[in-house]
Each structure stands twice: as structure tokens, then as C-alpha cells.
């Protein structure tokens, strides 16, 4: 097994865990954590493809990941703010109770 496949497997594993968490947990914060996990799995993919790719000298993968982490931080901040707003409004953080936006 090549080192790339190992990283990719790890990344897929992380992604699956994150997806499972985001889909199954009811607490909005835990859902957010799952989403962060999936994002990080993607970041790991970026790093792995860059490191074992044809041109590891150019720091392109690194740049992607640093941007991605920055965006993830912003996303976490927005997400947490939304969750706090929801909590203020509905007195709950359970995503199943927040279902009024529907057809």
C-alpha cells in the first residue's frame, strides 16, 4: 500500500465519520463539528495529493489548505453565531425542532 493510498483512506475515514456525525446527531453544535471533520478530510486530501503529486516543490497544496482552514474558521464562526441566534429564538439547539422552513 503506497503512502498516498494510506492518506486517502484516512481522509475517507475522517470524511465518513464527519458525514455520519452531521447526519445522525441532533445537536446543532455536534453537526457543526461533523462538518468541520469533513472539511478537514478534504484538507488532508489536498495535502496528500500535493505531497505525492508530480510537483511537490511548488507550494500550491499548502496554499489551498491554508485558505481552506481560514474559510473553515470563518464558517465555524458564522455557524456558531447562527446556532446561538437559533438558540435564543427557539430555546433549543436541536436541529429536528428547527424545521419551520419547509414546503
Amino acid at each position: 500500500m503506497s503512502p498516498l493510498a494510506g492518506y486517502l483512506l484516512l481522509s475517507a475515514f475522517l470524511f465518513a465519520i464527519g458525514l455520519a456525525g452531521a447526519v445522525t446527531r441532533r445537536n446543532a453544535i455536534v453537526v457543526l463539528i461533523g462538518i468541520e471533520l469533513m472539511l478537514n478530510a478534504a484538507n488532508l486530501n489536498f495535502i496528500a495529493f500535493w505531497r505525492f503529486g508530480p510537483n511537490p516543490e511548488a507550494l500550491t497544496g499548502m496554499m489551498f489548505v491554508i485558505f481552506s482552514i481560514g474559510i473553515a474558521a470563518a464558517e465555524a464562526a458564522v455557524g456558531l453565531a447562527l446556532i446561538i441566534a437559533i438558540h435564543r429564538h427557539y430555546k433549543t439547539a436541536n436541529v429536528d425542532d428547527v424545521n419551520q422552513l419547509k414546503g
Partner: protein, 689 residues
């Protein structure tokens, strides 16, 4: 310009105004409406006298004064302007004085005659309207204005003939008069339109550009119609057709005798003195058009020949019918038709002055005769059959005396009476006519017949013994103590006397010794004096008249009628001819079976066509109703339903799809995840490339 020329319109306007006001007056204001009509007529008479004296003071070319104004403009340019206006010339002045004078007297007379009628106000309204329109005809300087007034005159004639409309015969007579004259008027209108298209104006005189002036006439006479006739002749004949209708000439004379259903003053004013003379006046007015000839030609114009022949035939035709009539007014009506024929003949053979002279004298003595007849009818309790009269001389001396004067004037008794001079003038002109002597002989025969039937009438009415009521007297005596005839009131006899004086005096203004009237009308000076053939002619016509009087006396006065139903001596003499005359040559029946039958048939055909058209229209209607029903069906059942259904489906689909959005975010994520997995599987297994 003299003020009378400027204000000539007042003469017709005053009676019109009086008619308008009295139309709005309640029925009980009898005195008001009568005095309004009579007053306006009297003022018009005074104005006419002013106009007359004004014309008397003029000579030659200046004797015709016109006043034109633009009525309205209907097209670009000069010929698009409709001009109306009036003209004051000797013809107008004479007619004005005659109409207003006779009119005033007849208005006065009507006061007495209509005193018992409950529609007194209406009567005077119509009478005043008639007088106004008639005066409008007289002063008009435009064929259009003349035609307008002409039609109003026809309307009032209709209204007044049918004044006692509750009598079916009066209503029928009114319709007959209106429709018969309409036939002539259609031709008249055609003539007017044609004239307008030819000359571009309808004004008679307009300082050289009028349609009766040289330039327009020369243009019209130079062109020929497709029938080879000069345009001027064709137009003149069309206009003459209008005159034939109005003046009761053959073949449109049938309405005039029936018009006697109207009140007697109406017969006197409209159907003897003025309206029926309007046709003669019209011919006199358009005489330049009638008599125009191509340059260099010296023949007698065709239009004038037609006028002469129609007039001459009418003169004898109507006079012969009058011989066998028994209704006092009908005799006079046929006499009027016959005299109008004389006037036409006079116009045709001798020109304006000859015809107009007879028109004026005839207006006076015929109005006198009609009013005398009215007085007789009035005195005899509405009896009109001369066989039921007789011996009235003793009961009604004034009426008798004036009637006798009128009768002698009409018969043309020598020297003393106006009718003699005017009729003689016509006969003299006919004698010198270059085309044929026949009109002259017809005129002589007519004179003989006239003298004869007037003698018959006077003898039957005024002489002999009273025949009326011999049988009925016993029945009536119980509730009617004074069944005897009585003399009429002064309002009726005074006009009679005035007219009687006129009937005598008027002849002297136009004798061959002093032809003032002729000179006045023509503006020239004819040689005065009796030439040899004039004297010969006068002698022979006097002889004819006296023969007629004698024959009348021979047949009717020698053995006075004793009974009401005594057989007429003429009938014993020649029953076939008498029957023919008594039934007016069967003209009414002839028309009944030709024109009217054709008209009725045509009406039926039209009705049939109409029915078919109705059926077709209905069919088309049904087809369209059916089509629109189909249309509605499509609309409701297909378009509407289909649209509704599709809308419902879309809504349903929307509802179905909105189920997916259930508000649970994790569901969405799940779907995304599954979709991603499926995408990956597809990419791995199927989409390698």
C-alpha cells in the same frame, strides 16, 4: 339699396312668426291667434304695398333688385357656397300684393266661416304658416329657397286639406294631394340638382352669375343630352313637372278636385288663388330658362311648346269635366284646373305677362267664387250638392250678387269683367302662335264650356225654386225651426264685396287700350290701342261666351229643376258622354288600375323580397348563433377545462415537490450524501472516460 329690398324677408317672416307663436297658444285663445294671423298678414300687405310702390318707381334694368347672402359652405371654392336671397322685381311685387291682399281677406272671411270650429287656433296656425311659405316662394331668389318654401306650402296644403281629419275622405284627399304633388316635386328636385351641376349656382339673379342670366343659360343651351335635347330644355321640363304637380295640370290634376274636402277658405286661398298658382309663378320665374334658344335659332323653344300643349289640353279637359259635376266646390275646382291650364298656355304662347295677368285676375275672382260657395254652403247648413239648392237668390242677396260678378268674370263676359281681358289676351297670343292653331281652338272651346258650366251652376244654385229639404222638412221641423238658408255674417260678406270690386276693376289695368300691366312686367312699352284682329278676336270670343251663357240658360233655366233627383238635361241628351264626364273620364279609375295597381303590386313584391330577406337574415343569424355556441363550447369545455386541469396538475406537482423540503436540514444532507455516493458509483462503474 333701399330698405324695403333689404327687409323684404319680413314679408314672409311675419306670418311665419305668427304661425310659430299661435302654434304654442292654447286652444281657447281663439281671438289671440286669429288676430295674430290677420295682423301679421295685414302688416305684410302694407309692406308689400311699399315694395310695390318701390318697384313702380324703378325703370328698366334697375327694376330688379336682389339681396343675396351666403347660407353655408359645404365645399371648397365659390361653387361650394350655398346662397340664399330674395329678389324684388315686378313679378315678385305683383304676386306679393296679390297674395297678401287675397290672403288678408280670406283670413277675415275665415273668422266667420270657422267660428264654430273647435280647432280654430290650429286652423289659423296652418293658414299663417301657409301664407308665410307662399310669400317665401314669391320672393325667393334661389331655387333652393323656393323649393324649401314650395315644400312647406305642400305640407300646409296637406295639413289643411286634412283639417277635418276625422272624415276618412278628407284624410284620403290630403294624402292624395301630398303624394300626387310629390311626383312632380321629385322631377323638380332632379331639375334643381341638374341645374346646379350645370351652372354651379342656384340663385336666379346674381349680378351676371345667376342661373337665369345670360352666361349660365348660354352654357346650358350649348350642351345636348344623350336624347338630343338641349340641357336647358331638359332642366326646364323637369322643373315644369314640379309646376304640373303643384298647379294640377294634366296628368297630375287628380288631387285638386279631391282637395275640396278641406274647409272652404282653404280651397279659396290655397287651391284657387295662391298655391296652385305657384306652379304658374314658377314657370314665370324660370321663364328665361324655358325660353332660351341656341344662337341664331328662331324656332319656338321645346319647353314652351310642352307648356302650351299641357296647358291647352288641361284647359279643355278640366272644363268639360266641370260640366257634369254636382258638388258646388268640385265644379269650381275643375274650373280652377282649367283656368290654370289657360295660364300655362298663356305663358307658353305669350310670355310672362300674359300668363301672369290671368293668374292675378283669376286669383281674385276665383277666391271670390270659392268664398261665395263657402257662404252658400254655410247658409245651407253644410249642403254642397247644387241639386239640393236652388232659389237662394232671395235668401242670400249679397252672396248672390258677388257670386254673379265672379261667375261673369270667370266666364269672361265682355268688356266689364277682368276675366274677359286676361282670357282674351291669352287667346290673342294663342291665335298668333306660329306652330299650331289647335291651342287657340282648344282655348275657345274651353271658354265656351266655362261659360256653360258656370251658368249651369249659378242657375241651379240661385235661381228657380228651393229644392232642398222638401222631403226632409217635416222630419227636421220638429227640432230645427229655422231650416231656411240664411245670409252669412258680415265678416264673410265684406271680403266678398271687396273681391267683387277687384274682379271688375282689375281687368282694366291690362286692356289692349292701356296695357299697363304687361308693360310693368316686361319693362317695355307696347303699343297701346286696338288693332283690327284684336277687335275681331274680342268679338268672336264674346260671341263664344254669350253662346255658352245662352246654352246654359237654355238647358237649365227654361225649365227649372223641380225635384232634387231630376235627371240632368244633358244626360237625357247624350247619356254616354255625360256619364264619361260625370266620372271624370275615369281618370281616377285608370290610375287606380295602372299606377296604383302597379304600385301595390310592386309593394307586394317588395314585401315578398322583404320576407325572403328576413328569412335569409334569420338563417344567417341562426348560423352565427350555432357557430358561437360551438365556440362557447370549445371555450368552456376544452380551453377552460384544459387550462384548469393543467393548473391543477402543476399545483399538485408543486405540492408533491414541496414535501421534499420538510425543514429537516439533516435530511437534505442525507440526500446529498446518498446522491454523492451514487455519483461516485456512477463515475467508478460507468463514467471512466
Amino acid at each position: 339699396m333701399n330698405w324695403i329690398v333689404k327687409n323684404l324677408w319680413l314679408i314672409p317672416a311675419l306670418p311665419m312668426l305668427a304661425a310659430g307663436i299661435s302654434a304654442l297658444t292654447p286652444q281657447r285663445c281663439r281671438k289671440f291667434s286669429a288676430s295674430l294671423a290677420i295682423g301679421s298678414m295685414a302688416i305684410s300687405f302694407l309692406l308689400s304695398l311699399c315694395a310695390f310702390s318701390h318697384v313702380l318707381g324703378q325703370h328698366g334694368e334697375t327694376s330688379r333688385q336682389i339681396f343675396n347672402f351666403n347660407w353655408f359652405q359645404f365645399a371648397e371654392g365659390n361653387s361650394g357656397i350655398l346662397q340664399l336671397g330674395w329678389v324684388l322685381d315686378p313679378l315678385t311685387a305683383i304676386m306679393l300684393v296679390m297674395v297678401t291682399f287675397v290672403g288678408t281677406l280670406i283670413f277675415l272671411y275665415s273668422l266667420g266661416y270657422m267660428a264654430q270650429d273647435e280647432n280654430f287656433t290650429r286652423f289659423f296656425t296652418f293658414l299663417a304658416l301657409f301664407a308665410g311659405a307662399m310669400l317665401g316662394v314669391v320672393i325667393a331668389n334661389s331655387l333652393l329657397l323656393l323649393f324649401i318654401c314650395w315644400e312647406i306650402v305642400g305640407l300646409t296644403s296637406y295639413l289643411l286639406i286634412g283639417f277635418w281629419y276625422h272624415k276618412p275622405s278628407a284624410a284620403a284627399a290630403a294624402k292624395k294631394a301630398f303624394i300626387t304633388t310629390r311626383i312632380g316635386d321629385v322631377a323638380f328636385l332632379l331639375g334643381i340638382v341638374w341645374l346646379y351641376s350645370q351652372s354651379g349656382t342656384l340663385s336666379f339673379y346674381d349680378n351676371g352669375s345667376g342661373c337665369m342670366e345670360t352666361s349660365a343659360l348660354a352654357k346650358m343651351v350649348a350642351q345636348t343630352t344623350s336624347a338630343g335635347m338641349a340641357v336647358s330644355t331638359a332642366i326646364a321640363l323637369l322643373i315644369f313637372a314640379g309646376a304640373v304637380g303643384k298647379s294640377g295640370q294634366v296628368p297630375l290634376h287628380v288631387w285638386l278636385p279631391d282637395a275640396m274636402e278641406g274647409p272652404t277658405p282653404v280651397s279659396a286661398l290655397i287651391h284657387a288663388a295662391t298655391m296652385v298658382a305657384a306652379g304658374v309663378f314658377l314657370v314665370a320665374r324660370v321663364f328665361p330658362l324655358m325660353s332660351i334658344l341656341p344662337e341664331g335659332s328662331s324656332a319656338i323653344p321645346v319647353a314652351l311648346q310642352v307648356v302650351t300643349w299641357i296647358g291647352a289640353i288641361t284647359a279643355v279637359f278640366a272644363a268639360s269635366i266641370a260640366v257634369a259635376q254636382n258638388d258646388i266646390k268640385r265644379i269650381l275646382a275643375y274650373s280652377t284646373v282649367s283656368q290654370l291650364g289657360y295660364m300655362m298656355m298663356g305663358l307658353g304662347v305669350g310670355g310672362v305677362a300674359v300668363g301672369m295677368f290671368h293668374l292675378i285676375t283669376h286669383a281674385f275672382f276665383k277666391a271670390l267664387l270659392f268664398m261665395g260657395a263657402g257662404s252658400v254652403i254655410h247658409g245651407c247648413h253644410e249642403e254642397q250638392d247644387i241639386r239640393r239648392m236652388g232659389g237662394l237668390r232671395k235668401f242670400m242677396p249679397i252672396t248672390f250678387a258677388t257670386y254673379a260678378i265672379g261667375m261673369l268674370a270667370l266666364a269672361g263676359f265682355p268688356l266689364l269683367f277682368s276675366g274677359f281681358w286676361s282670357k282674351d289676351e291669352i287667346l290673342h297670343a294663342a291665335h298668333g302662335w306660329s306652330i299650331s292653331r289647335v291651342p287657340f281652338y282648344l282655348g275657345i272651346i274651353g271658354a265656351l264650356l266655362t261659360a256653360f258650366y258656370m251658368t249651369r251652376q249659378v242657375v241651379l244654385v240661385f235661381f228657380g225654386n228651393r229644392r232642398d229639404g222638401i222631403q226632409e222638412k217635416s222630419e227636421h221641423r220638429s227640432h230645427e225651426s229655422s231650416h231656411d238658408p240664411h245670409e252669412s255674417p258680415l265678416t264673410m260678406t265684406v271680403p266678398l264685396m271687396i273681391l267683387a270690386v277687384c274682379a271688375i276693376v282689375l281687368g282694366f289695368v291690362g286692356t289692349p287700350a292701356w296695357p299697363w300691366f304687361q308693360n310693368f312686367l316686361s319693362g317695355e312699352h307696347e303699343a297701346a290701342g286696338f288693332s283690327r284682329d284684336v277687335i275681331l278676336l274680342m268679338l268672336s270670343s264674346s260671341g263664344v261666351v254669350i253662346l255658352g251663357l245662352f246654352l246654359g240658360w237654355w238647358f237649365y233655366a227654361r225649365k227649372p229643376f223641380a225635384k232634387v233627383d231630376q235627371v240632368d238635361p244633358l244626360r237625357t241628351l247624350r247619356p254616354d258622354i255625360y256619364g264619361l264626364l260625370e266620372n271624370k273620364y275615369w281618370i281616377d279609375e285608370l290610375y287606380e288600375h295602372t299606377v296604383i295597381a302597379f304600385n301595390a303590386w310592386w309593394a307586394k313584391v317588395c314585401d315578398l323580397i322583404d320576407v325572403w330577406l328576413t328569412v335569409i337574415v334569420h338563417l344567417i343569424g341562426y348560423v352565427f348563433v350555432g357557430l358561437s355556441w360551438v365556440n362557447r363550447f370549445c371555450d368552456e369545455k376544452l380551453v377552460n377545462l384544459g387550462f384548469d386541469e393543467s393548473c391543477r396538475r402543476v399545483t399538485l406537482g408543486g405540492k408533491l415537490m414541496s414535501r421534499l423540503q420538510n425543514g429537516r436540514v439533516q435530511n437534505y444532507l442525507r440526500v446529498i450524501g446518498v446522491a454523492l455516493a451514487v455519483l461516485v458509483v456512477i463515475l467508478i462503474w460507468g463514467g471512466g472516460k
